[in-house]
Symmetry: C2
Subunit: 218 residues, 2 copies
Amino acid sequence: MPKLWNETIEAHRHAVRDAIMETTAALVGEHGLASVKMTQIAEQAGIGRATLYKYFPDVDSILIARHEEHVAAHLAQLAELRDRAGTPEERLHAVLGTYALICHHRARHAGIDVAALVHRGEPFARAEQRLVDLFQEVLGEAAAVGALRADVSPDELALYCLHALSAAGSLPDESAVHRLVTVTLAGLRPAAAPGEPNPAGPADRHRAAHEHQRHARH
Amino acid sequence: MPKLWNETIEAHRHAVRDAIMETTAALVGEHGLASVKMTQIAEQAGIGRATLYKYFPDVDSILIARHEEHVAAHLAQLAELRDRAGTPEERLHAVLGTYALICHHRARHAGIDVAALVHRGEPFARAEQRLVDLFQEVLGEAAAVGALRADVSPDELALYCLHALSAAGSLPDESAVHRLVTVTLAGLRPAAAPGEPNPAGPADRHRAAHEHQRHARH
DNA sequence: CGCTACCGAGACAGAGCGTCTTGGCAGCGA
DNA sequence: TCGCTGCCAAGACGCTCTGTCTCGGTAGCG
């Protein structure tokens, strides 16, 4: 593809790497995940097959690398929302709502291929774990001000959020995604039944405690 | 495997088919999904490779067939719970709780392989659709007696339940699964806030309407 | 101008695949 | 008892894709 090397060799390699990943994603979107071969990718990207093997060992690695870049971008976006100003409830809503929209648009854009690729091997587990950790932090802050139910730990609630919001990929439009976020958040709130134990109040108290948590993170 | 044909030819073929599916599942559990080859399956099952191709065209078909049998069994179990006696809330709780336990045990037993296989192609979409339909029926009955929030339609709530409960596969023990069901159900209940529109009462009224729905199904 | 690093193209052996043929065995009916 | 039919294991065959290697060519750099 790049006949003339762009500035440095480093930049050239990065450009070729990006071209490989983009070409592979296009081929997968066109012909499906199983039928894409290394030969096809090399031809489409305009590089030699041996050169392709110098960048990636197989098709899965290419798509995993592409997926990890997307995950990193989304994670940065969510971390930025997490560190914004506002009450823990507001930031929880922002993080979960944005994640749901990400799921929605990913499903609409990439189809089933990402899900098929992503559910195998350990790279996906790591990406999911980072998401759970991020959710857990926001949930912990919300729990500190009593905005969360106290009978389930934040790590289990984080897992609940992650899976519940993944339903956004099957929803038809963004208003449905918004309703899904509302429903998911409803599952997180303290039990309204009078007999249930609910030690933390619904108001935003413990402000100092959650500020301490936020700053102790970095 | 079966040197002497069992009774009829039909039964023999069924036995061979079962042996193939069981052998394949064992190999996938042992060596992973990607590395299992048709040659290996035929050798392990004690049949010829050409014979294997007379039963299944490829490895995926074998695992999909096995998965569909499991799904059918689980679906029957859930349908039985749906048609049991009791209030719609009780039956909703039973169906969702049982589905969560199924997810939990499946993840514990088969590992990541089922998820990896299951997320590609159209057979999985059909199985998921049948589950959503089943959920939707139980949710519709619960909505008829006012046990559900009225601001989200039962089909969207069914999708929410399906995905939220799939988190049970990542939970460590059954008590955590039970808490997940509690949280998921909390997302389904009518909004407790006084300002929110909540036309249906929390008590079990409209009993006749939901009985009508149940009997109109068959 | 020579050196180095990279690259495209092609060759090569190996693994799997999907099909076909061969020879053999189990059941069934005459 | 003897064919006849259906099924089967084993193996051969051509094919695709893989992963590695070598070759000749070219861009940058000193």
